[in-house]
């Protein structure tokens, strides 16, 4: 029985989706029982990366604009939240205000990046966006003198958790016989946000706007001749992508309680890009899958230290080195075996792919 068919079948659809929802609801509890609480945290973080990767997917996957500085929008969202909900300026605004505000500020930064790069594509654009990402990080690192805004490399501590009235996600709650630790609480918030991000991405993709993005990716000149205002459509892609990153950043800051420029480096931009490319550029489900896998894989590879101990009776290769080596190898293998990503946008229909008429 084909699983995808089950989700499309009119009678079984509700059953299939119900099962998915149940699994996602039970996941943190099962994970905690089997793998321990640290894995609940990893899963929660992977949901943040789903949001990030889907944001970047709008820019890179849909509109075809190669962005190597995407983590900057994550940073802008995180710092917007942290500065206005921490002892840094002794202001504690509510998150319901701060998350949209962070998204809006990130969107403005998206347009600031987009506007000067409208004429650039491909490798040229990649270099400019890379520079943009670094500029943001360097600013965050140095905006502690002469006036201390970001607290420099020390970062911002004691950031407020998500809270409303007396209810805080940073406390342990009991409900229906289940214990919800802070990690569990955040898992569920991130789950809702990631689900919303997926829904938003799908709706945008299947709209007039989504078609315009794909058109400028496929052929910008033809798109403009067909009446697409390429400037506006590109800026919209940058702004929308940044918005997702900004919200994820705010959630990240509240979840961690601490942020510093360390968390927003070039390697993080590259990791998010890897999630998009490896998952299947442009395909929402594939990118979400890529984000979860690439967050979990490096963590899973931490077990190779203890495994060496068990198999060989001693540690032969430094686990930290071996971990990144295996991670790199996994990336290379995946791209060799599935160059269009784990879950490409549209598979060529059987029998038509060979006779390439293009």
């Amino acid at each position: 029985m084909n699983i995808a068919a089950l989700f499309n079948d009119r009678h079984y659809r509700w059953f299939a989706w119900g099962a998915v929802v149940l699994v996602l609801l039970a996941l943190p509890f099962i994970t905690e029982a089997v793998l321990g609480r640290s894995w609940v945290r990893i899963i929660a973080v992977s949901l943040l990366f789903v949001m990030l990767a889907l944001g970047l997917n709008i820019v890179v996957g849909f509109a075809g604009l190669l962005d190597l500085g995407y983590i900057a929008f994550f940073a802008v969202g995180a710092y917007s939240y942290a500065l206005l909900a921490s002892p840094q300026f002794a202001v504690h605004w509510p998150f319901l205000l701060l998350l949209p505000l962070g998204a809006a500020i990130a969107a403005v930064f998206g347009i600031l990046l987009g506007a000067p790069t409208l004429r650039l594509r491909g490798d040229y654009l990649a270099i400019v966006t890379l520079g943009f990402g670094e500029i943001i990080r360097v600013f965050l690192n140095n905006l502690n003198r002469p006036v201390n805004i970001t607290n420099g490399p020390q970062g911002i501590t004691l950031i407020d958790p998500l809270q409303m009235g007396g209810f805080s996600l940073a406390q342990t709650h009991s409900f229906a016989g289940l214990t919800f630790s802070p990690v569990h609480n955040y898992y569920f918030v991130f789950l809702v946000c990631a689900a919303l991000t997926i829904a938003l991405s799908l709706r945008l993709q299947n709209s007039r706007i989504g078609r315009a993005w794909v058109a400028i990716r496929d052929d910008e000149l033809a798109a403009s001749a067909m009446g697409i205002n390429t400037r506006n459509v590109k800026l919209l892609a940058f702004a929308m992508g940044a918005t997702f990153g900004g919200v994820a950043g705010g959630l990240f800051a509240s979840f961690q309680g601490f942020i510093s420029p360390e968390s927003f480096q070039l390697i993080d931009s590259i990791m998010v890009l890897c999630m998009v490319v490896l998952g299947g550029m442009g395909n929402v489900a594939g990118v979400a899958l890529g984000a979860v896998l690439l967050t979990a894989l490096p963590e899973a590879l931490r077990y190779i230290g203890p495994l060496q101990q068990r198999w060989f009776g001693g540690v032969l290769v430094d686990p930290a080195d071996l971990r990144m080596l295996l991670f790199g190898l996994a990336l290379v293998l995946m791209m060799l075996l599935r160059p269009e990503g784990l879950w490409p946008v549209r598979r060529r229909q059987a029998g038509k792919g060979n006779a390439d008429a293009g």
């Binding site: 706007i209 078609r211 794909v214 058109a215 052929d219 001749a225 067909m226 697409i228 919209l236 390439d356």
Partner: protein
């Protein structure tokens, strides 16, 4: 034939470095006619097309379309005024389906924004339905209905040419500019194309045609202009142009004039 002028280009000059791609070219296309633009390779036909559709900005010259000045406008704005085009080297959106390519052409005549798309407002849903319906009509009109769900890059060559026409028609143009639509087509495909173009004209759309297939262009066009080395050397009815000694010389060499 109505005598009013839909598109008038006057005194168009365009230099690329030292090369005069167009020097002082003027043409006028009457509403409702098929206007053929011919000339040897490198004569400047495609450059003139690019100037007319906003892809290339002319150095000097005036462009009037439907009573409005359009020189210097961006391509999307020119399309908005009602000029649609196809490309000599086919430029489809390869990763989109045939249907989606035509739907993209409706972008200009629709206005759902981000909020409409995200919240699926009633207006957005209705507009999306209208876009799909119109796109399917146009696929039918151009004989591509059976190919609606195939990726554009997987279509055979002749279908790709017709898809470019369908996509251009989706923008509701007053003037459809076709850059060598019959290039690479066999005799049967060319005959079908000719029928399609005549039908488009009967439906009230003016056609501007660059074509190398002399039989096709002379059989279809009401007026013809001939470019050679960036200059217009003749303009008029097809029969008169064919007998023009400068045209014969440009095509066959001075010995035949």
């Amino acid at each position: 034939m109505p005598a009013d002028i839909l598109l008038a280009a006057s005194g168009i000059c365009k230099h690329f470095g030292g090369l005069a791609a167009l020097s002082d070219v003027s043409i006028s296309v009457r509403r409702g006619e098929i206007f053929g633009l011919i000339g040897p390779n490198g004569a400047g036909k495609t450059t003139l097309f690019n100037v007319l559709t906003g892809l290339t900005v002319p150095d000097v010259g005036k462009l009037t379309f439907d009573g409005r000045r359009i020189e210097g406008l961006k391509p999307h704005a020119v399309a908005g005024h009602g000029i649609a085009r196809t490309f000599q080297n086919i430029r489809l959106f390869g990763s989109m389906t045939t249907l989606e390519n035509v739907m993209l052409g409706r972008h200009l005549r629709s206005n759902t924004g981000v909020l409409g798309a995200v919240f699926r407002t009633r207006a957005a849903v209705a507009e999306e339905l209208a876009i799909t319906r119109r796109a399917r009509e146009l696929l039918d009109y151009c004989g591509l209905a059976a190919r609606a769900d195939d990726l554009a890059r997987d279509l055979p060559y002749g279908d790709q040419r017709r898809l470019e026409i369908a996509r251009a028609l989706a923008t509701d143009p007053q003037l459809l500019a076709l850059d060598e639509p019959a290039a690479g087509m066999n005799a049967t495909e060319t005959a079908a194309l000719k029928a399609l173009l005549e039908r488009i004209r009967e439906d009230g759309i003016t056609l501007l045609l660059i074509e190398h297939d002399m039989k096709l262009v002379m059989g279809l066009s009401h007026s013809v202009a001939v470019l050679d080395y960036g200059e217009k050397i003749a303009e008029g009815e097809p029969e008169a142009v064919q007998r023009n000694p400068r045209v014969i010389e440009a095509y066959l060499g001075s010995g035949f004039a």
